[in-house]
């Protein structure tokens, strides 16, 4: 419950504050958000499976974000940033979908 509240408060704060995104971070923010979403879905699934562990969640969340941003950064440096970020989004999207499928099976039994 506290976790859901955290998400809601975060969205509201982001909409209200509307901070200027620093130009350095700007290309990586969308990818980082998608990676974090993937971690959250994975965590939710783990919770439904009864194997949720906060330490694992924290590590996977942060490492997801950092690795995704790193890949995009590396891609930019190599000149394939657009393609690599597309690849990252595709991979994360597939994972989110399969996690969502497992969650759905738990919640709706279907």
């Amino acid at each position: 419950m506290i976790a859901v509240l955290g998400l809601v408060v975060g969205v509201v704060a982001g909409l209200l504050v509307r901070p200027e995104v620093p130009a350095v971070v700007e290309p990586y923010l969308p990818i980082a958000v998608v990676a974090a979403l993937d971690a959250v879905f994975g965590g939710l699934r783990a919770m439904l499976d009864g194997i949720f562990d906060d330490k694992v969640f924290v590590v996977s969340f942060l490492s997801n974000v950092v690795v995704a941003a790193l890949i995009v950064f590396l891609g930019d440096k190599l000149g394939v940033g657009a393609q690599l970020s597309t690849g990252v989004v595709v991979v994360l999207g597939i994972r989110i979908f399969s996690n969502a499928a497992a969650i759905r099976r738990h919640v709706f039994r279907a």
């Binding site: 955290g6 975060g10 700007e26 959250v40 965590g43 906060d54 996690n99």
Partner: protein, 282 residues
């Protein structure tokens, strides 16, 4: 990368695929509180979800997850806000994307510029050709009027003279009138009509009893010529010694010549298509 890798064996077939991923998390982690785990494993996923949501419990796990989710929500909202800001649509774009977009725009504007030039050229050509057509049309109308005056298909007006030949004795004959017409033509008459009959190139005069026929139209004395031309030339041409006037007066006819600044020759004749003669000019 995340917790999903530690699924339990009794899980659904998809987990088999998932298990092929390298396990990132040491399996020992969940065993920290094995008794609780055993109790929870009896619950279904749905029950666990409900239990996690209500009642709210302030645990370390909940707080940490809340902090992380706060970060996610914040980032999500910021990204969505900055993305939906249409004026800054290009702000988040990568340099190479911007270069590509710029190139595309350059290409596009170049293409449009070319197209514009082509269309302008076309417009100019059309304007020129319509100008030329207009000019040609004007010239044609002008020429038609000029030729119409010669052919007698249009009315004409201008300075000239009126010649009236009174023939009380009936002595005036066609050849005398023809002489008069020739003399007038020689003096520069441009349009002539006699008693309502237009005199043109093909006009012929014949005697018919007491009177004269012009182009088959019988006309009676007095013969009234309306002539457009330079009055100063026309009048002396008739009055020269031994000329038309003297010849007619010898035949007891009276001739009066009147100058006028405005003579209207309004007798018309129909334009006729020649049967044999064809224009040889191209």
């Amino acid at each position: 990368m995340s917790n999903q890798d530690e699924t339990q064996p009794e899980e659904t077939p998809t987990t088999r695929l998932r298990r092929e991923l390298p396990a990132e998390v040491p399996a020992a982690a969940p065993q920290a509180d094995a008794s609780e785990e055993a109790a929870e494993s009896a619950l279904t996923g749905r029950q666990r979800l409900v239990k996690g949501l209500w009642p709210p419990r302030v645990t370390r796990a909940q707080l940490i997850v809340a902090v992380l989710l706060f970060g996610l929500g914040f980032g999500l909202a910021v990204q969505v806000a900055s993305n939906s800001d249409s004026s800054n649509a290009l702000r988040g774009a990568r340099q190479e994307d911007l270069v590509r977009i710029l190139d595309e725009l350059d290409d596009r504007s170049q293409r449009l510029e070319d197209e514009k030039q082509g269309l302008e050229k076309q417009r100019q050509e059309l304007e020129n050709s319509s100008d030329q057509a207009e000019e040609a049309r004007k010239q044609t109308v002008e020429k038609e009027k000029q030729l119409g005056i010669l052919a007698g298909t249009v009315a004409a007006q201008g300075p000239g003279i009126t010649v009236t030949i009174e023939d009380t004795k009936g002595t005036v004959e066609a050849d005398m009138l023809l002489d008069a017409i020739q003399e007038l033509r020689a003096a520069g008459a441009e349009a002539i009509q006699v008693n309502g009959v237009r005199v043109v190139a093909g006009t012929y005069l014949t005697d018919s009893g007491e009177s004269v026929s012009v182009d088959g139209n019988k006309i009676n004395a007095p013969y009234r010529f309306k002539v457009i031309g330079k009055p100063q030339d026309l009048e002396p041409a008739l009055n020269i010694p031994g000329g038309v006037v003297q010849t007619l007066e010898k035949e007891q006819a009276t001739v009066t010549v009147e100058r006028s600044t405005k003579i209207v020759v309004d007798a018309l004749r129909a334009a006729e298509q020649p049967d044999y003669a064809r224009s040889s000019s191209q």
